[in-house]
Structure formats: C-alpha cells, structure tokens
C-alpha cells in the first residue's frame, strides 16, 4: 500500500468513524458471565465471585469461564477477542448467540436483547442476523459444497431456485468456483474453511462470528485466509467478531482487540494501543515479541515541536505505522510534521524512528 495522503486520512477517518459509531453499537455486551458447575447462578454478586479461578473451583466446584465482560462493537468494525486456551474466549463467542447459555448479563444485537429472546426469536436471529465460522468447519459431510453453503437458506425456508443462486454467488465470492459439486472431504482444509465462510455469508448476516477459524490450518494457508477475510471485509463490510489465540492474527485483522485471561477482560484497544500502552505485565509480556515498528503509529513516537525544529519537513497523518513512514522520515532533510486535518500534532525525526526500530532488536 502506498502512502498517499488520501490513504493516511482514510485510516484516521475510519478510526474516528468507528469511535463515533460505537455510540450506537451493533453489538452490545454488558456484564456477561458464564459460570460452569453446580448452582452456578448463585455465585455472581457474592464475595466468591471475586475469587481466582482456582480458589473458586476448590470452594464451590464451579469454573468461571467468562467473568463480567462488557464491550461494544460498531457496525462495520472487526473486533478481535484474543487469549490463550482456557481464557474463555470461545465460551464468550458462544454466549453471544446463546449456543452456550450465559449465566448473567446482557447481549444486544441490532437493538434486540438476545438474553431474553424466546426460542423462536433466537432461531430467527441465528437464521438472519448472526452467522458463525468454526475452527473445525462443522460442514455436513453428506452434502456437496453448494448444498452446504445453501444449508442456512434451506432451513429458513428460502425457495430452492433462490437459494441455489445465492449459494453459487457465495461459492464464487470465496474463490471456490468449480468446486461446488465436490464433497467436503475432497477439499483441503483451507478450501473447507472457505466453504464455512461462504455458508456464513450466504444468509447475509449483520454480524459474523469467527471462532478460531484458521487455527487448524497450515501457516501459509492461514495467511491466505487472513488476507481473504480482509478482502471480504472490504467487499461486504460485515461487522465481525473474531476469536483467536494468535497475536499476530489479532493485530493484523482487528480494528480493536479484547485481551482475555482466565475469563476476565484485561485490555480493550486498537492494536497500537495494546502494543504501545499494555494494561499490565501480562499484556506487556504478551506483546513483547511484536515488532513494534509494524504496529505503532506516528502518534506513539512523535514529540512536541521544539523551537529549533524546522517545520519545513513533509506532512504525514498520525495513524501511519512507523514502518511505513520510516523510509520517508529517514530520507527527509527536516523532521516530518504529523498533521490531522489542519492541526499540527507533533513532529517525528530520524532519531525517534530509529529508537523504535533499534529498540526492537535489543529486546
């Protein structure tokens, strides 16, 4: 991607737009709890709820999988939930459509309260508004690709011709044209997950949920699929909630990232916020291997202009990643001015950029 001024502004504008849109979120989650075990609902609100997982297990035999999680997702946003295995992220995403029944809390999708929905309402929501992509694909082995993709349309009662046409469009969209009559076991893992993706897109949902969709794939194919998700997001602009245990994947895909540990939220923020200002030692440790210049933006390395600084240098936006800006900064005779709109936010010179890049190597 070249660093045109339009592109720089676009990134900043997107961030501003999402921040604004979050006031009327598409997905609103508040104080969500999931406790597994006997009499799980009696724990919330008692002092026991404050115990660590291990202590609670010993005292009550219950396991807290999701502990008081709240967040909002703006329309069109890619929201990543990241954590190690056992952090409760997969449980969290299942609570969003009540594949797992939450113990307490509220989930609102497009203005509808999911937690109090009837079975019929819930089915309607799953059929039309929220679709999910699974780690192990969950395809129907006895149906051909095209019939797998059409499955969601079939169970909600769409007419046969309409659903075939829609399914074929989706098969083409995910790049599987020509494979529509294959059976799932005749496809590679990556292609099977494309089927999963097409199946989820077919119902034209407003929210797409991804539960570690690429964890079972080879690294190279995983990268292809990540790029595919980015491409599809550009094309169809769906709101996405994406679960992963892979930090690189989270940083690559997410507009914002929620980091979970032992069922609790540790930090929510943009990728550069997570790397630039880790909330605690856990997150700091987590992101310590990330090449900072790939994630941090000029906002994080700029300084206030000093009287001796020349203000004749080139202009760049604050949300340009350091790595992308480095070449220009190092080549410029004067410090680069970081400007948003008409406002001068600060300046960046060679030393500021080198500090980030060199510091990385010493880590």
């Amino acid at each position: 991607m070249t660093l045109t001024p339009e592109r720089m502004d676009e990134v900043s504008a997107r961030i501003a737009r999402l921040d604004e849109a979050r006031r009327t979120p598409l997905l609103h989650v508040e104080s969500l709890w999931k406790v597994f075990g006997p009499k799980a609902d009696r724990i919330i609100g008692t002092p026991d709820a404050e115990l660590s997982r291990r202590e609670l297990m010993a005292r009550t035999g219950c396991v807290v999988a999701v502990k008081d999680v709240s967040f909002d997702v703006a329309p069109g946003e890619v929201f990543v939930v990241m954590g190690l295995s056992g952090s409760g992220k997969s449980t969290l995403v299942r609570c969003l459509t009540r594949l797992i029944e939450p113990t307490a809390g509220t989930v609102v999708v497009a203005g509808q309260d999911i937690t109090s929905a009837s079975d019929a309402q819930l089915r309607d929501l799953r059929r039309k508004h929220v679709a999910m992509v699974f780690q192990h694909f969950g395809l129907l082995p006895h149906r051909r690709v095209i019939d797998n993709v059409a499955y969601g349309l079939e169970i909600r009662g769409d007419a046969k011709a309409a659903r075939r046409q829609r399914a074929q469009e989706m098969v083409d969209l995910v790049g599987l044209a020509g494979n529509e009559n294959s059976y799932p076991d005749q496809l590679s893992g990556g292609m099977q997950q494309r089927v999963g993706l097409a199946r989820a897109l077919a119902v034209d949902p407003s929210v797409l949920l991804f539960d570690e969709p690429f964890s079972a794939l080879d690294p190279l194919i995983r990268r292809d699929m990540q790029n595919e998700v980015i491409r599809l997001h550009h094309e169809v602009g769906k709101t996405m909630v994406f679960i992963t245990h892979d930090l690189a994947e989270a940083l690559k895909l997410g507009d914002r990232i929620l980091i979970m540990r032992d069922g609790e939220m540790v930090q929510v923020g943009r990728p550069d916020e997570v790397v630039g200002a880790p909330a605690d030692d856990y997150v700091r440790d987590f992101v310590s291997d990330v090449p900072r210049s790939h994630v941090l933006t000029l906002r994080w390395v700029m300084r206030d202009p000093q009287p001796e600084d020349s203000l004749d240098g080139p202009v760049m936006g604050p949300d340009v990643v350091v790595k992308a800006a480095a070449h220009k900064v190092l080549a410029a005779a004067h410090p680069v001015r970081v400007v948003l709109g008409d406002q001068l936010l600060g300046v960046v010179d060679r030393e500021d950029v080198l500090r980030v890049i060199v510091a990385e190597e010493s880590v």
């Binding site: 459509t97 594949l99 819930l122 089915r123 309607d124 929501l125 799953r126 059929r127 039309k128 929220v130 679709a131 999910m132 699974f134 780690q135 192990h136 694909f137 969950g138 395809l139 129907l140 082995p141 006895h142 499955y151 969601g152 079939e154 169970i155 909600r156 009559n181 059976y183 999963g196 199946r199 119902v203 949920l209």
Partner: protein, 667 residues
C-alpha cells in the same frame, strides 16, 4: 448372540495414576488363592453334604406351581381380556401374517398342491430385490444360495426361516429405530431403556422361549415374538450410538444457523448416522436369524426344525445338510446387507446421471422377474423344487459315512481329548462346585465377586444365588456353571494365543479376521453339529460347541486390545532391550487387561448361552431341563425354572466381570 459393537462401551479409563497400582493386583491374587484353599478344605470335609440334588422327573413345589400357572394361563386363554384380546390378537395377527406369507412362498396353498409362487418366482423376486438394493455381485450370491436351498432339499424350511426372520426384523425396525432416536435425544429415555436392553442381551436365548409359551402358546407367533425380543437391542443401541456420535462441531454449526430440533435430526443426524444405522440393521438381521433357528423349539417354522430333529436322533448327515443351509442363509444375509450399505454410500457419491439409466435396468429386470413369477404359477417344473436334482440326500449320506470314518479312524485322538478335558478339568471342578455343600459354594462365589468387583456385584450375586436356590435347581445350576467356567477358560486360552498373534502381526490379522467374522454370523445351533459328530452326545460336546461359538468374539476383543496398546510404549520397551516374550507379558498383556476382562465377560455370556443349548446333545443339567420342558408337559414348570436359573447365572457372571472390567479400567 450378536457381535460386540452393540454392547455398552467399557467404562473409559480416567487418566489418574495410582502410585500403588501393583499392590492391589497382588492382593487380589492372594485373596483368590486363599478363597480357593478354604474351598478345597471345605469340600474335603463336607463332600456330598447339602448338595441339593433333584431327580430328573422330580419336581419342587415352586416348579409345580409354575405348571399350575401354565394351566391357569391355558384355561384363561379364551376368557381373560388381556390374554384373549391383547396377546391373542397379537398371536392371531402374527400367525395369519406368517401363514399368508408361507402360502404365498413356501407351503402348498390350498387347493394348489404348491405355493402361490413357485421356486422360480421366489428366486426371481429375491434376485430382483437384491439387485435393486445391493448390486450385481450380491445378486449372484443370492441366486446361488436360494438355488442351493432347493437343491439341498430344504426349500420350504429355508423360506419359512426367512419369513420368520424378516417378520421379526420388520417389527424390530418399526420399534427399534424410533426408540434409538428417542434415546439419542433424551437422557431420561436412555436411563430407562438401557438397563432393559442390558438384561435382554444378557439373557441366553434359550431362556426366552418358555415364558413366551405362556403368553403365545407355541407356533409361529411365539417364534416371531422371541426373535423380535432377541434381535431388538442391536438396532436400538446402534441407532442411538450413531446419532450420538455425529460430530458435535457439525451439530453446533447447524444450531448456530438456527435449525430446529426436527431439522437437525432430519438433515444432519440421520443422514450422518445412516451407515451406522445400517450396521445396526445388519446385526439385528443376524441376531434374528440365529434366534429364529432356535425358535424351532417352540414349533417356529424354519430350518431349525430339521436340525433339532436330526440332533435328537443323532443323525449327523441330516443335521449337517440342514445346518449347511442355515450357514448359507447367514452368509447370504450378512454379505447382502453389507453390500447394500456400501452401495448406498457409493450411489450417493456417483452424482446425478446414474438414476435414469438405473431406472431403465430395474424396470426391464422387473418385467423378467414378473415373467418368472408367471411361469412358476403356471408350470409345475417352475413351482415344485422337488423336481430339481436332489443334492441333499447324497450329501447327507456322504457326511454320515465321512463322520463314521473320522470317528473310527481318530477314535483314539477324539476320545483322548475328550477324556483329558473331562477327567482333568471338568470332573474335578464339577466335584468342587456340585459336591460341596450349597452354602460353601455360595460363600465362595460371593467372596470371589467381592474380591473381583466390590460389594455391588457381591450383592447382585447374592440375589442371583437366592433365585437359583428358590427355583430348586441348585445342583443342575452348578453343573452348568462348571461347564461354563471350563469352556470360558479354554476360550480365554485361545483368545490370548490368537489375540496376541493377531494383535502383533498384521498378516495374521488379515488372514484370520474374515474367518472370525464369518464365524460370528453363524447361528449357534449350527456349532452343535460338528461337535456332536466328533465327540458324541456328552457334556464335552456342549463345551466344544461353546468354544467354537464364543471363540471368535473373544479373540477379536483381545486382538483389538493388543493392537490398541500405544506403539510408542512398545517401541520404548523394545529399545530398552526387552525380548519379544517380555514385550508381550510385561507390556502388551498388562496394558490390554481391560480388553482381556471384557473378552472374558463376553466369552462367559456366549459360552453360557451355548452350553445350555448343548442340552440338546447330551449337555445335561439346566439346558437339558429346558429342552425337556418343551418335550413333556409335566416338566414345563421345571424347564421354566431352569430358564430362570440360567438368567440368574448369566446376570451374576456378567455383573462380576463387568465390575472387574471397570476396576481394571480405573487402574
């Protein structure tokens, strides 16, 4: 008895390791040795005291009251509402259905001297059905098999057997598949149905028959109902298992798209479980066939009748030919249903163009089949199988003379084997069990149950022993128990030898497994024939038949257990310098002990059911008592009591070994 797949799975071994794992094993061994020692001492002191014998024609009060019960049922058959309308209705319906089918296919349909459809027509119908369902190769097999029924001289008996079998199978599927679905969907149904199925599968086939006579009298309907009860568990269990083992990821994905429970069942669970369900149907058909042959004892029509007659008159030749027809039936049904399931799979994959072409072929062949039916209704040569050359008679004669030659020539060898087993194993153990006072044997059995399995099997054993005492057949039960234990011990020796060999060598496995599979499809009745031919009517004959019958299942279980031992562990042991024998005795057998105990469990149940059938050929004890209950009206009550004693023995042995297996799994 059916194959292993439909048994409840052995309890899974949790991953906890007990540090002192070796100690309890040694202690169990010491305790068992102590029990045995005390037993021998007690036997020496009290031999012949309180052994509770009962003469052949003698009856206890309880047995006489069972006779009275039978008389009461007989008297009330036409007046009591439940007996007359409910069971009478079922009986009349089934009898009418079976005799209609027989008139159509196998028996002279008055005023015709032959059935409505003669042999050529039946052959053509079978061939067409097989072609439609299973494909060309199976069709050839079915044509040859069906033709052989006529050539062997058992046409109507063979067709009758198929009629009884498939009538029962029809009801099994009608009841079993919905029940299996209900079990897969509801924990409550599972909790209620599972123990019932357990008992149904633990009950030796022999013990079903007499109680059914109470309700249905004798004849085709009793045979169908007995077969139905016996063959129902596999299809229920396997249907439930198939539905439950549909990948949870797929089910979750389907739920996430908003499917209803009905849609989930129709579009996901049933299609994905279809192959498994067809396996269940196969097992049900095989179980039905084996029970339908035994149902000859309650006057069920079919090939079982000539076998029983021949066995009782010691006519090896006829028994062999009729038994051969049963084996052919079994192979035909097994191969055809397997091919049908594979075909269904292939066809689904083949795509869309096939059906058009197939419909044409099926239509054309249907016309041919109808033409054959017409011929068979018009011309006697196509209707009467007796006009075909008779191979059965010469074959029976040849078999008889071959058997005579073998028994004459190898008289020394067969007698030697028999006497060694009888005097070396059978008699001493029988003396211990049957000549010790009942309270001593009961105490020994309870203590063994406690040591092997804990207080629960001990408690169940106490109840079972109480039942055996109550029905008044203690000494007969102990004789049957002796035969069961001896046969099971021999089965286990075979199972370990062959199982280890098969588990370690792919080649041995590939060579032996088809034989064992074939052995498992053959109805138990048939095994009596070669055993009788070699060893004459003795207790040992029943034991040999039991070993032949139980061996395949036990060997396969042990082989699978040995194969299941982690190759890494075996490799590590080899790398440490173990000899082959050390690998087997120190690694593979100990790690496969859960499979060994399970094999013993299955072996015991198979053996018990066969040992009592051996009552037909001189096995004596409980089996003989059941048989005489069929033959003589005044011994009915005693036979029924023997059936109860057999069930009690079966439940006791099953519970002890199941709990022991669970313990092994935990270690």
């Amino acid at each position: 008895m059916t194959a292993v797949a439909d048994r409840p799975p052995a309890p899974e071994a949790p991953l906890t390791t007990t540090p002192a794992a070796k100690e309890p094993v040694r202690r169990t061994g010491l305790l068992l040795a102590a029990i045995a020692g005390a037993w021998v001492v007690g036997w020496a002191l009290f031999q012949g005291v309180a052994t509770l014998p009962l003469g052949r024609a003698a009856l206890t009060g309880f047995q006489r009251s069972l006779n009275d019960l039978r008389d009461a049922f007989d008297a009330a058959r036409n007046s009591n509402f439940v007996l007359d309308v409910v069971f009478g209705g079922i009986r009349d319906g089934l009898d009418a259905f079976v005799s209609a089918a027989r008139g159509l296919l196998s028996q002279p349909a008055f005023p015709r001297p032959v059935p409505e459809i003669g042999w050529l027509g039946v052959l053509a119908i079978f061939a067409w059905l097989t072609y439609a369902l299973a494909g060309l190769r199976s069709t050839v097999l079915v044509v040859l098999s069906t033709l052989s029924f006529a050539l062997l001289g058992y046409w109507s008996d063979s067709i009758d057997l198929l009629i009884v079998t498939f009538t029962a199978v029809f009801f099994c599927l009608l009841i079993g598949i919905p029940l299996g679905i209900a079990m897969a969907r509801s924990k409550a149904v599972t909790t209620v149905v599972t123990p019932v199925l357990d008992v149904m599968q633990t009950m030796p086939s022999f013990s079903y028959l007499l109680p059914l006579v109470l309700l249905f009298s004798i004849g085709a309907s009793a045979a169908v109902v007995a077969t139905l009860i016996y063959a129902l568990p596999p299809v229920v269990r396997i249907t439930a298992h198939g539905l439950r083992s549909v990948s949870p990821a797929t089910i979750e994905a389907t739920r996430s798209m908003g499917s209803t429970r009905g849609q989930l069942l129709r579009t996901v669970q049933l299609p994905m479980a279809r192959r498994t369900i067809i396996v269940g149907i196969n097992q049900t058909i095989m179980a039905a066939l084996s029970m339908a042959t035994i149902a000859a004892l309650v006057d069920g029509p079919g090939l079982g009748q000539p076998v029983v007659e021949a066995l009782q008159s010691l006519n090896i030749g006829n028994a062999f030919v009729a038994g051969l027809a049963i084996v052919i039936t079994a192979i035909m049904l097994d191969r055809t249903t397997t091919a049908a399931s594979e075909r269904a799979e292939k066809e689904r994959r083949a795509g869309r163009n096939a059906p058009q072409h197939r419909r044409l072929v099926l239509g054309a062949t249907a016309v041919l089949a109808l033409a054959a039916v017409y011929l068979s209704r018009t011309y006697l040569w196509a209707a009467d199988p007796e006009r075909l050359p008779d191979l059965g008679g010469p074959l029976a004669d040849a078999t008889s003379s071959a058997t005579d030659w073998i028994t004459d020539t190898f008289f020394g060898a067969t007698n030697g084997i028999r006497d060694a087993a009888t005097y070396g194993l059978l008699n001493p153990l029988q003396s211990l069990l049957a000549d010790s006072p009942w309270w001593l044997v009961a105490a020994v059995l309870l203590a063994t149950a406690y040591v092997l399995g804990g207080w629960r099997p001990a408690l169940i054993s106490a109840v079972c022993l109480g039942v055996i005492l109550g029905v008044g057949l203690w000494q007969d039960s102990m004789v049957t128990l002796t035969m069961t234990l001896v046969a099971t011990a021999l089965v286990m020796i075979l199972a370990v030898l062959f199982g280890v060999w098969m588990g370690r060598s792919r080649r041995a496995d590939t060579a032996l497994r088809p034989l064992l599979d074939a052995g498992q499809t053959i109805p138990p009745f048939v095994y009596l024939v070669p055993a009788l031919a070699l060893f004459g009517p003795t207790r040992f004959t029943a034991i040999v038949a039991a070993i032949l019958y139980a061996g395949p299942a036990a060997i396969k279980l042990v082989a699978d257990g040995i194969r299941g031992v982690s190759p890494t562990t075996v490799e590590a042991a080899t790398a440490a310098g173990s000899s082959t024998l050390q690998v087997i005795t120190k690694v593979q057998l100990p790690m496969a002990r859960a499979a060994l105990v399970l094999a013993a469990n299955q072996g015991l149940l198979y053996v018990l059911s066969m040992v009592v059938i051996g009552g037909l050929v001189g096995g004596g004890a409980l089996g003989y008592t059941v048989v005489s209950g069929f033959a003589q009206a005044q011994l009915y009550g005693k036979g029924l009591a023997a059936g109860i004693a057999i069930v009690a023995l079966g439940i006791m042995l099953d519970r002890i070994t199941q709990h022991a297996a669970a313990r092994q799994g935990r270690r």
